[in-house]
């Protein structure tokens, strides 16, 4: 196959996985205003859960149940959701900034757990031989089928979030973001809705983690770096348009294009600078984030635009 096409398929697959994470963060931050900066924890827990459920049994680490991939994906969502439920029950009573601190803490705990609990996770050596979806299609068919699988996940997650956002559920979340007291005075248990959004977002993050692990075919604690996961996903959502479902997807593709494009550019650097390239790229993304916040702080597709469209649609349907 044409190497360029190969690269395009790879690009879309990874960007799609990021879109799943960005959509998940949009549920937590965009719709509800929950400041989760420990995304990587829920991603890693999802990834590891799915791997341990589906990989062949091994003498050196736990799990290895050899179950079908679908079970792994569902397991990933359930485990990440349970983690979010436990974290949420403790922290969602706290103010927003405390939730942020708590989620960083959780991310660190998860990272240390994955590194040190070798009996379960094989520690820093990681787990290889992770079964890949559509493995019997050959390398090219596999890549294509995986891309389709990821895009399908993006589509399903997108549609589910859009439907929920437009339903009374989304209305309550928006109301909570605006004025909690009004929502309480309207008889809604604010905490319960927050918890739902947090858990739902985490489950989707777990699904993305599983997609990632099975696409790469290898998992280790190194694969889940806060910078490459949490930070990049945040930049994607903010650049795309926090609160705007389409924006979350668009941001993922654009930022991933810039991020992977910058790798090509830093490849041209003289060899003595090559070691700094990674830091330089991160700096570049940081600069981009600052520029977005300065000049278009609502993102490329703003929540306002989406809301205006919603209201206009409502008004159009009025007469019918």
């Amino acid at each position: 196959m044409d190497p360029l096409l190969n690269y395009a398929i790879f690009f879309v697959t990874i960007a799609g996985i990021y879109a799943v994470w960005s959509l998940a963060l949009n549920v937590q931050w965009g719709l509800t205003g929950l400041f989760n900066i420990g995304i990587v924890a829920f991603v890693a827990v999802g990834g590891y859960t799915s791997v341990l459920l589906t990989v062949e049994p091994s003498a050196t680490f736990g799990g290895g149940l050899g179950l079908p991939l679908a079970v792994g994906f569902i397991g990933a969502m359930v485990t990440s959701a349970i983690l979010a439920l436990l974290v949420g029950l403790i922290t969602l009573n706290l103010r927003a900034d405390y939730l942020a601190i708590a989620t960083i803490g959780i991310a660190e705990i998860v990272r240390l757990f994955l590194k040190n609990e070798e009996w379960l996770t094989n520690g820093v050596r990681g787990i290889g031989g992770v079964p890949r979806a559509f493995a019997d299609l050959g390398p090219e068919g596999l890549a294509l089928a995986n891309m389709v699988l990821v895009l399908l996940c993006v589509l399903i997650v997108f549609l589910l979030i859009e439907r929920a956002r437009r339903a009374p559920w989304g209305r309550v979340l928006r109301a909570i973001r605006e004025n909690e007291l009004t929502v309480l005075a309207s008889g809604k248990t604010v905490k319960y809705f927050r918890l739902q959004a947090f858990v739902l977002g985490a489950a989707i993050m777990g699904l993305g983690g599983a997609l990632y692990a099975h696409f790469v075919g290898f998992i280790s604690p190194e694969a889940f770096e806060p910078l490459q996961t949490t930070f990049l996903v945040w930049v994607m959502l903010i650049a795309g348009g926090s609160g705007n479902t389409k924006g979350a997807v668009l941001g993922a593709f654009i930022i991933w294009a810039i991020w992977s494009g910058s790798q090509i550019v830093t490849g041209w650097l003289p060899p003595e600078l090559a070691t700094q390239a990674g830091a330089l790229r991160m700096g570049l993304i940081g600069l981009l984030l600052v520029l977005v916040l300065l000049f278009r702080n609502e993102g490329l597709l703003s929540e306002e635009d989406q809301r205006r469209a919603d209201i206009a649609r409502e008004a159009r349907n009025d007469g019918r």
Binding site: R163, A167, E178, N179
Partner: protein, 253 residues
């Protein structure tokens, strides 16, 4: 209906409500008046569950409801409005009201996904109810406006509208007339009267508009410095020396 016994609320060194005891008869429109800082709004916040008292208890139909959460009290039929309008400013007027009804199918995310038809059908009903309320309050043509763009008086009406989205048993109105123009005020008074007579809602009203109180409310409870100073009909209150002193002439003869 509502009984408050020896209620106390302190904010640091300040005692906002100080051993306050009063009762609101079922089916009445009871007024709570008093100078600024008398503790009226604090009292409301405690009854509606937004503040926890430091002492004393609150009874509703003989049941102790002290310290219950606002949503729990809402479901018991006790609703309140806010003195400073708490509209959802970036949501439409219609959405502000459609938020309120309890037991909405679409508030469960899984039902929103799995039974969109059922959600839509219920949304239609809720919307019709909201439009009725808006028509009544003369806000119908503003239904797609963001609530933040409404005038102060219109926001007040929207506050009242929230309580009309359900069938409450007790409504606590915190200065419903402030900033509302005369024409609408007449309508508001009439609405409260009608809801009281036809639907049997009990109202407790904090208000400074004495004409409105005289027309609408009985009994009238006067608070000053966190306690009840006097209680009775408007005519009795107007003759009460303590009240005249507390108000320093704000009450005309």
């Amino acid at each position: 209906m509502i009984k408050v016994e020896h209620l106390v609320k302190r904010f640091g060194g300040l005692t906002a409500v100080d051993d306050c005891t009063l009762s609101v008869p079922a089916g009445s429109i009871t007024a709570v008046i008093g100078p600024n800082g008398a503790g009226k709004t604090t009292l409301f916040s405690m009854i509606a569950g937004f503040l926890k008292p430091n002492g004393g208890r609150i009874l509703m139909d003989g049941d102790d409801i002290t310290g219950l959460s606002p949503p729990t009290l809402f479901h018991k039929g006790l609703v309140r409005t806010f003195q400073i309008p708490h509209e959802l400013s970036r949501m439409t007027v219609l959405e502000n009201l459609m938020l309120v009804p309890p037991a909405q199918v679409g508030e469960h995310v899984w039902l929103a996904w799995l039974q969109p038809g059922r959600v839509r059908a219920q949304e239609k009903e809720i919307r019709e109810r909201a439009e009725e309320v808006l028509q009544f309050l003369d806000l119908y043509r503003l239904r797609y406006e963001l609530a933040g763009r409404l005038s102060g008086g219109q926001k007040k009406l929207l506050e009242l509208g929230r309580t009309m989205m359900i069938e409450p048993r007790v409504v606590l109105l915190d200065e419903p007339a402030a900033g509302v123009n005369r024409t609408l005020l007449g309508k508001l008074t009439e609405a409260i009267q009608r809801l009281n007579e036809e639907q049997g809602y009990t109202f407790v009203v904090i208000e400074h508009d004495m004409d409105m109180i005289a027309e609408l409310c009985s009994p009238v409870i006067v608070m000053a410095q966190g306690r009840v100073l006097a209680e009775g009909s408007m005519a009795e209150i107007r003759r009460n020396r303590d009240v005249l002193e507390a108000y320093l002439g704000v009450v005309e003869d």
